[in-house]
Symmetry: C2
Subunit: 446 residues, 2 copies
């Protein structure tokens, strides 16, 4: 039997794990610096928690876990006869795999409202699962890194989150452009164009601007029943880059003006911060079919062709579906897989992520091997990471292993060295060799 893993899932080799950890560590350290606290939620959630939260397509993409034991016992025979897969699901499966980190977070806030303090600032770095058709760069299991605050409508948090975006990408050395808009401004545009009843159609169309261009959006709007006059108004609004100009256009749209006010409050905080990446007001930013109600964010790499690497925004009513009303929240999500791909493309991973150890012992004979093992113990006791080849085989074979693992130094021990308490330290790159004592070895690698 030749082993395989399910389509769309991945094994990670050590070098990949180290690189991924490098990304997660940077993201996590920034989250912590801004006072966000870590939480974790279970891999499996009740299907009652997940179903209906991600639209019909999302429901199709949920991985459902079969009930244990005699799962067919209570299934309806009629539905089984009809092979009614969709209708039978709820009777044979009551758990599903986490689809994102937002819905579990909303559930968490409601369940633990007595254990947490509002405003509650949390981060969560965990995998999610979606039964999407696997393709290049799209996996069925992938990590999300989310940071959200709930229980406050202060625009200060929007500024803080943009600072976080900036700081993370600066630390990762990825040049990005941070796009900002506000769903209330899009709502103002819908007011101006008289298509408030088709708000989602409008935002979904605008969301495609990058991919299909202006003409494409106009066609899309028309397809969705928005007439040419309205479409033209929408398109002319999308050309505005100044809030003052927009305020004139929005003079009769209360919600549009509120959106401008929110962006200005954001800027009052934000202007003061030491950002390194470009932050732009982008009226065309729409964030498609999302539940956002206020500011929205999106991050794009400047030096690589890649979709949005981070996105987020404010949602006024995240937890009401679980019975807790009036809890406003705002958050952003980092797409670890896309960040990884961009960093590989731009060669941004530091050398040090390649191997944890710098030194390995190799020995000529059994006695030297015992000496070398003892030396390795001494180094480890001094907190120096090192390794030792497991047996005194032919040196050539051992050296081949050292090279294959790309370990930079080998400490070679023969009977002469062992007798004098020394090792012959070989620089694997230059080939230089020198005789050193164990204490010299310890000082050199400390």
């Amino acid at each position: 039997m030749k082993p395989t893993i399910p389509k769309g899932t991945r094994d990670f080799l050590p070098a990949q794990v180290r690189k991924r950890k490098y990304i997660f560590d940077i993201i996590e350290s920034v989250f912590k610096k801004y006072g966000y606290a870590p939480i974790e939620t279970p891999t499996m959630e009740s299907l009652t928690t997940l179903s209906g939260k991600y639209g019909e397509e999302g429901d199709q993409l949920l991985f459902k876990v079969l009930n244990n034991g005699d799962f067919l016992a209570k299934a309806d025979q009629q539905l089984l006869n009809e092979k009614a897969s969709k209708k039978i699901v709820s009777s044979i499966s009551k758990r599903g795999l986490r689809y994102d980190l937002t819905v579990p977070f909303a559930r968490y806030v409601v369940m633990h409202q007595n254990d947490i303090q509002l405003p509650f600032k949390r981060y969560q770095i965990q995998p999610v699962w979606r039964a999407d058709r696997p393709q290049k760069g799209r996996y069925q299991e992938f990590y999300q890194c989310d940071v959200d605050v709930v229980g406050s409508n202060s625009l200060m948090y929007e500024a803080e989150l943009v600072n976080i975006l900036d700081e993370v990408y600066t630390a990762l050395k990825i040049n990005v452009k941070i796009h900002i808009n506000n769903r209330k401004i899009l709502s103002g545009i819908a007011d101006v164009a008289g298509v408030q009843d088709k708000f989602m159609d409008m935002t979904t169309s605008i969301d495609k601007l990058d991919k299909i261009g202006e003409e494409g959006v106009v066609t899309e709007l028309s397809k969705r029943g928005i007439n040419r006059v309205a479409a033209d108004k929408i398109m002319s609004c999308l050309k505005i880059t100044q809030l003052d100009e927009l305020a004139t256009v929005f003079k009769d749209s209360e919600i549009g003006l509120k959106g401008i006010e929110e962006l200005r409050s954001f800027h009052n905080y934000f202007d003061t911060s030491p950002n390194q990446n470009e932050v732009v007001f982008d009226i065309t930013l729409a964030r498609g079919l999302s539940y956002y109600t206020g500011c929205i964010f999106e991050v794009k790499a400047k030096d690589a062709v890649m979709g949005s690497m981070s996105g987020g925004g404010r949602y006024d009513d995240l937890t009401s579906t679980f019975g807790l009303k009036d809890v406003s929240g705002v958050g952003i999500s980092f797409g670890a897989e896309r960040i990884f791909d961009v960093m590989e493309e731009l060669n941004l991973f530091p050398e040090e992520t390649a191997e944890d150890i710098k030194l390995i012992f190799v020995a000529f004979d059994q006695e030297s091997h015992q000496f070398a093992f003892k030396a390795a113990c001494q180094l480890r006791a001094a907190d120096i990471a090192c390794d030792i080849y497991p047996a005194p085989l032919k040196i050539k074979k051992q050296m081949k292993y050292v090279n294959a693992r790309k370990i930079p130094y080998a400490a070679i021990v023969g009977s002469e060295e062992a007798a004098s308490g020394k090792v012959s330290l070989k620089n694997m790159e230059t080939g230089d060799q020198q005789s050193v004592t164990i204490s010299e070895l310890i000082s050199q690698f400390s």
Copy 2:
């Protein structure tokens, strides 16, 4: 709708996540120091990989994931009519959740044999899932921390792993006793008692010694068809504590003598190491229904009532089920949940795991709040973790929040402070307050 999570699963609050991370970080840092490399495998494995690897009971405890789409389409109608849950599974589910880290590792070694170097030293810290009946201390989702080396039969690795056990528990400040035995010695006992054909019955019975005592084991042996004479021989062997004495008893058992030789080789390496915890030869250690073939290990806490916290051993033929023969391996596993429980019981977590930030800004009015936000930005730019209350509400309300989050210092800003570029730094424990500049704040918290 009142939200819930599935039985046997858990949400983790920030303090719990931090404590768990404290454990994982220590374990991981020791693994790295000994030259082990991290790998990760997917949450879902093909059921063909998992099934039949954990015995019949294990197969029952596997979580199976329903195929996506019209999963009933190809199911046998006859089996559906019979509601034959067990027989229908393979046609409606082809993936299962990871049940342990050992089988996926064996699969990984075979699939990636061209990408890795033998001996391959790997560690893996990931959750596993088992549909066990939930009870105190037993969950359906829990973490394992495994460290294994495959591709070498050097007894040096047994010594190295005992060093790792010792170093991890020393770092965690848990006093433990490390028990060591060898399955070949148990096999020697089976030779001496003439019950080699009932080896698994014998080891499974011995494994219960702790729980049911000597008489219980004798009864258990008899139930399993081992006669009184043989049982007496077994029990008298189990009283032997010296390898020399055992060698006399084993004089006609080749495998028993081999077991003694292996333990002696282990000691040749091991004697040289700087261990802090007690390491004992324990002939009664059996490791039940496991696949081990050589040395076996188990770790018990000395100051807390808790079963085995770590266990492991050598297995001669891990990967052959996936088509790769003659790859010997040895490894140990740390039970994160039990370690957590023992550390809670003995109060071993350091204070610092409680909160990531030491300082929060609170402001009297809007202008001071802007000043405070700017100050927070400056501190964060100087790599100091801090927070700020989101709005200039009543100070009493803000201070209540600071206390609830147990943040040790509050930097209070009013119009006077803001005007002079200072804050009033309050020690939340003592109540002491002093006026300091932002740069003084930066030096104090750096």
